[in-house]
Symmetry: D2
Subunit: 481 residues, 4 copies
């Protein structure tokens, strides 16, 4: 597979839930479709029809799995939860596709999860020793077993007891026969919003999932909040000790869709402001500002507007690169990036070009893009990055390479400049990023966001990782389907 | 689907295991292929390579799932167990395909099961109340949870503790990291044999699975025996109080392959003897003895030989009826049976025909076969059945219709004769059947076989059934894949 | 693929046509299903609805392609022709699937063909030189181009002109907007019968295709006859000079279905008579007569009946060997034949066995069968073959190996006996075969049948072959789909 | 399927050829991939290896069909031609996929075609009457039959004779055993360029296909030129009387890729100039210029730059809408457009918005886009279209609706404004368009381009259309595969 995004961090999940709507499965499918950028490898929906749960899951995208009326019709009921995923923990085999479902003593229970439990492996080992049988390698199943074996009576008490034992970053949507429950971890690292459509409550990772179904945005679920939706409305429970929010700043930089708003801040606008700040911090004389499509576009517009240099689509993205194209020959491998992007030769020839991108991870694609731009005749190429250098891995639900593979963890700025082959290279500063987002510098005592991938300041304990006993594989079973 | 066998009882499973052979997965695939008549809806193999378990499962036949070298190569290891199945309990969705596997506290554990637990549902309810999460609707999973939650130390002690709680008919093959274990229920209702190939022990439902891989038959596993195969050989454990064998007599009549031998008795030969006894009990003047192919052939040969009436293939079976042929039109539905069978017109025209079949369940196919034979010009049609009337449902791992649908449970002989449209109809008597099998009449005090489907004499308690609390469906989840 | 039939000659085609029946496509599908033994690699149906032709073709069996009501419904119209095929001439790619269709100057024209033109390649070269464009590698297309470029007016005159130029063995069914036409070559080498159903005329390769749809057999189409079916009934044209019939005797021996009758002679009965004659010609003292299933069964019944030796199913055929099973491992390749057949050990052990088969081509399978029977404990194995030695290739529409690969063309009887590993080997004599079929020895001046595969006496000129300019490949195009 | 592009004209084809390059098939696949915007329904490649032609064709995109190394390896040889297509003439069944191939008297001949013969149907009828058999419904096959039946000797003379008979707009690439031939129709309506890679000549519809493989652009093939590429180089033949070029202006407006250059004019730059001219012709006070993505982006950048109004991505395109998504429910059908586009709410709320699009065909999508923008809170919506009103159908190889469905053919500007629901609506004028392209107004005597879709001035005779005898369907055969 040839994928430019192969050199981006990958968010692992998007989640969606809707309660008491006559057309729940269709709306869940639409909502998940709008969250497709958060995970394209697998998807699932579970509904409840008052008597029975119905599930459909599959590898691939939402449209491939929920595009037929037959499938939607089979997902009967007025409540639904759904999930799209990449595969940070757990290989992508069919039974690792969420939402997970279990018949528990109190009835059916199903969960969709975005994030990562940093003590998931230790919890799993304890549960297996008690006689629990795991069927997936996902830490979502840890939560279900904790709920199943809880000594509490009600499902809410069981969930609270279960989550007390969990350490990590998570946004969850759970569904029982009569409840829809949304939870964010105490620091609120991953997003979750509440909306309403025709009187039916909706939970979703991002506001774009509300927009697509025509729902109104009500509010973001608070860090540490458990929102319990039932036929009598929404009830908020705050089982954890209050803590200051540390929302993932990379959601603003790259993960979230530009048309979403998080905590009231429009993502597209945030990116433009970051681009403008970058133009102030790292100006350079040039003829054109060219975004690396598509994620670099808003920052490039901001940069161009602030610098008064013309914004041009100097790189064209090919929309027809599906997931199946394999580079057709060894001899032409170096042409790979051109399957997905092409240089707009007449706009680049003889020009001094400022390339704007949101981030650099391994640097592999950046190098090829720059080479392509030079081949098209650019006289100078200046790279501007709308985030600080990515030096640390994420353990909170984002798939980043090991530090060994992160360009900025291994080279200094001058070395990176040469590696990528540009005339100049600049990243926005950490304080510049915070100013663009909040108007203030980063608070070193109470940072306003989680920025561990830039700073190495991990706000949640990395329990399994620090104990060093993470296994190569969670299950003894290597399964083919 | 058009299937003549639709009107036969259906055995639900065949099982196979091999220990310490360099080519275990390939031999398991071959063994299962020879047991394909015991289940065609799904199949699976689990192997162990000394470190890790490998599994491959799929819907459909053995050749469809294990026909490629890639799949066989991926099933690394020197031990393997496998399964073919119909679907008595549990709908056929992929995760209901055996062998089941679980990571337990002591390591990996995998089980393949032929039979039915008559208290499976009650056990399941107790386990769910303890916090166990079920992922299938099969009672095989009940056994695994009993082993997982057992307070015993060794896997053997855990299995014994688990099986003490189980009531039912079962032959099991289990595999751990260093053991292969074969068990038959205390009455030995379902078959299981032990063989040896190049020093490697083999367990299988029938001897035909030994023949195909070139293994030597050693002996049948005893009723109530647990045979534990390890690197130090076979060790027999007899955890249950001794009881007299009640092997399923229908295995001889229909289920087992004609080239298998059970307890030293060749199945083909048993069927011929039954046919000969039937000829003595219910003679009739006629021109030809015609088997209903293919299951009626051995009994027809026995009948023809005893009666000195010519044996002829008056009905030809079409070998090209796959599972995909749908009757192509409403108007020609009555021709359905002809997709699978055709009358050999020149051998039937003007003849007095004795049709020999092994059993009648609903009678639907018999009626159509007789009509086809008459259409071809037979002057008389006499039906002879090589088993007593099937009046009762089986609860021991065989898929029979409810009594309401059993022809012999609802009509007397004369009514059946008219319903099927024959000039005469006779079944072998119960004592005749036993004489053909054993040389003696049926012992009313200690019957030599389980014949509950004919007699209603159920040798194992029907716990769930008698308690009347069997649910319409075991799981709250209706899943699509 | 493991296929026992791999060592049989393969007929290349079955054809079917029906005129003016409201349910034509469904009946064509049924008829083709009953002709499936004549070709399993591809199938097609073309219908005409009074205005337009409709076609559906596909690789694989009839049920796989015509099993859904949707497909049948799409084949609108009251006339239909259909085809099943092996691939003697022309690789099996989709566009080589018959019936072929063409829009000609007079309207649509579609043809299904069983046989082989022995001057097909020369005709093709001439046509290409005239500017004709071929889209298949089948000689059926030669016929269509001859009709298309004919200077005659009516389609009948065009067909007659076309067939005058063709040399070979063929049975054709053609369809135009208002006609259904059946033709046999002047010697009538390949079969074609006429039947009637509800007043609608039916053409088919064998009577079993009439039986399955409930049609009445009327008569065999005569050698050299062109039967033109229109709304005014059947009109016979005999464009060729009268010749004596030379019907393919191998159709009786192996190709035709046992329940078919050809020229009024039941195929099953013919095979029994051949078996009986063989028992008279080549008797041997033994305990059991065992057929090689399934094709050897009728001859074995005849042999057993004549010899008074017990007929037993000593070899069991496994019905679950689909087309997908690949021998799962190199090490166990010699077990290959056991995927399809198994020895009925208890019926063979210690017995003197007469194995009866219809023919031997390469001898590969026979060798393995004999080895399997010996492994099962047979004390003696005597092979009896219900046809003369197959020493010559067929050029009349049957796929036989080159002479180099025919066992009987390369070894004498004693050598064959040793090669196959039997205690004795006997073939029926040529005269014995003719006596069983006709009551008379073979007429050396006017042989009653085509027996070229035994005698080398080819009744139709082998034009392309004798000219020696047959190309390795007919088309310059190697196509993938 | 939900497709925004459903409301755009659709170009029907892209073509590619390469001569004497060791890696011809891989380069053809890459070249076609870059031409994917010209046709996504089917694709094919034919190669020649000095002895034999190799073909692979399939429905779907290039990556789906040519993404595997196996397929590329099977396409042996140093010359290749390829094709991507929509389906203007001829339904999309597999055998309508180009390049077409035929074995002709002089050897193999294969053709890929972009355009439409306006007398194709009349030619076809004549050819059928001469005995030619057509296998597709494409006029490309007409050309092949004209070549096949030509009385000329050489393939070049045959092609010239054939093209003399053809009327229409076409760019062709043909390949024989030793030649690669590119032809444009006398007016040069459709594009074709010549390039060179490592000494190997390349022909392609657009320069972007040269860029992706790293080939250098040499020149555009001239209107009426036949470029014959052989081992001795390129030889130009001009068989037609000289005429003034009438290249399709819509290629600049919408069809061609923005990074291509046609006749030396960069497409992206042309679109920006058109946008700027539009801003001059139809200014309006507003807060933001928002392109309808993606085709409206360059014109919007030009409009924003000229008008000094901020360019913003107010509409976000969802990249994950594959071809399989079906709107999941009746109730939410009006949300359809949101599967593909979403409003960037925070950039639109309270703003006066100028929407820039390249063209309006039926107007269906425009209406929904405007509604979505208003729902997001825009205070005013002004639509600016970077082409004159589309009032006439194209008959030169572009799939446009019948005039009855063209918005601008049925409504005046005021009516369109109301229908689409905008506050103001303006199209660029015809002269404005020509000025942006050439610096001059349109010449009424010798127009510089073909603009028939705007002007109704058809420069090539519409022979079949004017004769009125175009059939509803070309073939009598309705085929399923």
């Amino acid at each position: 597979m040839v994928s430019y995004e192969a050199d981006k961090p990958r968010d692992e999940c998007g989640i969606f839930g809707i309660f008491s709507h006559h057309d729940s499965a269709a709306h869940a499918a639409l909502g998940l479709h709008s969250l497709q950028h958060r995970g394209q490898e697998a998807t699932g929906i579970v509904t409840h029809d008052g008597r029975q749960f119905h599930a459909h899951r599959g590898l691939g995208q939402v449209g491939e799995n929920f595009g037929s009326q037959d499938v939607i019709d089979s997902l009967r009921g007025t409540s639904a939860i759904g999930h799209v995923r990449y595969s940070t923990s757990g290989e992508t085999i069919l039974r690792n596709v969420q939402p997970l479902f279990a018949d528990l003593a109190f009835g059916g229970f199903t969960v969709a999860h975005n994030g990562n439990l940093t003590n998931g492996y230790s919890l799993r080992q304890e549960l297996v020793n008690q006689g629990c049988i795991f069927h997936t390698t996902m830490d979502t199943e840890v939560i279900i077993h904790l709920v199943a074996t809880s000594s509490q009576k009600t499902v809410i008490d069981r969930m609270v007891e279960a989550l007390y034992q969990c350490v990590g970053a998570y946004s969850l949507i759970a569904m029982t026969e009569d409840l829809l429950i949304g939870v964010r971890d105490p620091l609120g690292v991953r997003p979750l919003v509440l909306g309403i459509l025709d009187g039916a409550y909706v939970l979703a990772s991002e506001t774009c999932a509300l927009d697509i179904i025509g729902a109104s945005y009500m509010r973001d679920i608070e860090p540490g909040e458990m929102a319990v939706i039932s036929s009598s409305g929404v009830k908020s429970i705050n089982p954890f000790a209050p803590e200051k929010s540390r929302f993932c700043i990379f959601e603003y930089i790259y993960f979230a869709r530009p048309d979403s708003a998080i905590n009231g801040i429009g993502v597209y606008n945030a990116r433009k402001r970051i681009g403008a700040e970058l133009a102030r911090e790292a100006p350079v004389e040039a003829d054109v500002v060219v975004p690396v499509p598509d994620s670099g576009v808003p920052a490039a517009i901001g940069f161009a507007s602030e610098s008064k240099i013309a914004f041009e689509l100097g790189i064209i993205r090919n929309h027809y690169v599906g997931r199946t194209f394999i580079e057709p020959s060894q001899q032409i491998r170096h042409l790979g990036v051109r399957l997905k992007h092409s240089a707009n030769r007449s706009e680049l020839k003889g020009k001094r070009v400022i390339l704007v991108d949101d981030s650099i991870v391994r640097g592999t694609t950046s190098t090829k893009i720059v080479e392509m731009v030079r081949d098209a005749g650019a006289s100078q190429v200046h790279m501007r990055i709308a985030s600080p250098p990515t030096e640390y891995s994420c353990f909170y639900g984002v798939d980043t390479p090991h530090r060994d593979e992160l360009l900025a963890a291994n080279l200094d700025l001058e070395q990176m400049k040469r590696a990528i082959g540009v005339d100049s290279l600049a990243y926005i500063s950490m304080d510049g990023l915070y100013r663009a987002m909040t108007g203030h510098n980063r608070s070193s005592t109470e940072p306003q966001y989680c920025d561990a991938c830039f700073s190495g300041d991990y706000p949640i304990e990395l329990a399994d990782n620090d104990s060093g006993n993470l296994p190569a594989q969670l299950s003894l079973l290597a399964e083919q389907r």
